[in-house]
Symmetry: C2
């Protein structure tokens, strides 16, 4: 699982700070999460192949999270993309993209499929053999979802020596890796766990931005490997966090601790603070394993 931070600052793009966008590589998928203005250029800088992106998840319709979307869609068309593109985001996202295409008298030559979100409870919005994506309803000034990306439980690993000693027919090996108990050649039921080991532990990543402190999300993100939680402010500006429905570094850390995640990544910093290390310091008082998102930074888990 690899996370590339294309941008992680709040409000407006600046000379050195990009607004929110990140790419999560998980089980051969390249999921684009949020798409602030300039995201397509950031993708180029990161040498991320446009065609590998087939799914875009937009948390909410504030400009710093989606003003780059229509440009990306338009550039995909100019580059004669053929692969389908799925866009998940709040209701209205289809209309705004469609209107801009109409005004430019153009449309995509690839399938552009919108999945408009309106649910106020967590829902499964994408699933294939190996990965699931669930929404995480957040509490911000407009309708906002975070996203939980979860690998599914993988196949169990066979202990070949033990399997052979147990005299199990090779035709059942697939069933064994799927966790079933098997009747061997002698008619004896072999308990699965005596001849297999668990496969690699499934990884999970939760993206929560923008949101104020919201304990309701804890059951959804419980035990997640990596949590990206916005921390627009430090505690000294907690009143602004409440007013603008954002979170502080301490609040993000509190969520991380209560949800028992392994790693917390902070981001969506207000540019009022000179040095983002102060976010880490504040969060580290509550939670041990804190990382700082930075534009251009890549995390591998």
């Amino acid at each position: 699982m690899k996370l590339s931070i294309l941008g992680c600052y709040s409000a407006t793009p600046r000379t050195l700070n990009n607004t929110t966008s990140q790419v999560l590589e998980i089980n051969n998928h390249m999921f684009l999460i949020d798409c602030g203005e300039g995201t397509q250029v950031q993708l180029r800088k990161h040498k991320i192949k446009f065609n590998r992106i087939k799914h875009v998840f937009i948390s909410h319709l504030h400009g710093d999270h989606f003003f780059g979307l229509v440009g990306l869609i338009s550039t995909f068309r100019l580059l004669t993309r053929e692969a389908d593109l799925h866009v998940y985001g709040p209701k209205g996202i289809k209309e705004v993209v469609t209107l801009q295409m109409k005004l430019a008298d153009s449309w995509t030559n690839y399938n552009l499929i919108f999945h408009e979100l309106t649910s106020k409870t967590s829902e499964l919005i994408f699933e294939d053999e190996k990965v699931e994506v669930h929404t995480i309803p957040l509490n911000h000034r407009v309708y906002t979802n975070g996203f939980l990306f979860k690998e599914k439980e993988g196949l169990r690993k066979l202990n070949i020596t033990a399997v052979q000693e147990a005299n199990i027919n090779v035709a059942y090996y697939r069933k064994l890796s799927q966790g079933f108990d098997i009747e061997n050649e002698d008619g004896i039921i072999i308990k699965n766990e005596t001849v297999t080991k668990p496969g690699p532990k499934p990884k999970s990543y939760a993206f929560c931005s923008d949101t104020m402190y919201k304990e309701d999300i804890i059951p959804i993100i419980q035990n997640t490997n990596v949590l990206y939680h916005e921390s627009t402010f430090l505690e000294q500006h907690a009143h602004l966090a409440v007013k603008t429905k954002h979170a502080t570094a301490k609040e993000a850390a509190t969520i991380a601790r209560k949800a028992n995640v392994e790693t917390l990544i902070l981001g969506h910093y207000s540019t009022r603070y000179g040095n983002i290390e102060t976010f880490k310091e504040e969060a580290s008082e509550v939670f041990d394993n804190v990382e700082l998102a930075e534009d251009g930074k890549t995390f591998e888990f």
Copy 2:
């Protein structure tokens, strides 16, 4: 008159190439012309004060000329702008900006005034004491206007020695500078041109992008000081220019020559060409004074 090129490449923003946007400084105005994605960051890089921009002119609603507009408007709001902002552009521009504001549940705290353009003939769209702006109807795949920025004829300069010798009352000096003939203290009519000289020659700038070769624009831009004319292609791809309704460097130069402009600036290059010097070489065969727009370049006239 100062022209700052924020971006001058066609189609899509890239790591090193920005799409169309420029700032024309003329008679204390800062006119923003077109606003491709990333323009607000380019403005920051150029250290152009956001508050000095009060008028934005959008040629057409293709993304590479206007996808940065909503972000700019939104950033102006976040920075608590108070000054009015006038936006001139094709019909539809108001709806698309308004829809995005509505979806973000926000609106500007300053006056945002749209001037939607639909005329197929040149019209005066802005005028104050010193400057006029006219549209230049172009021929592109969608409704498109270029813009002609013209200083008005300035006040004439008084030859003080001659004025005093002519025995003209000081009360008439203003009339003299406005070009009127004046009756002197002895009741004799003094011809204006015998005691004044013309003021500084008014400057003019014509922006023509995007368009295919269109001779109809020549009377509108005749004798302009500086013409920016798109040259997406070289003559070797003239067939593509026709197909996509763009111009070649040679065609831009032909317009410049026929319109008798002083300086031609080329831009809106397709990124298929490695070296933009070839555009200048091609145009220089037809017209002498050719300049190349480049991102970050400033011209003073």
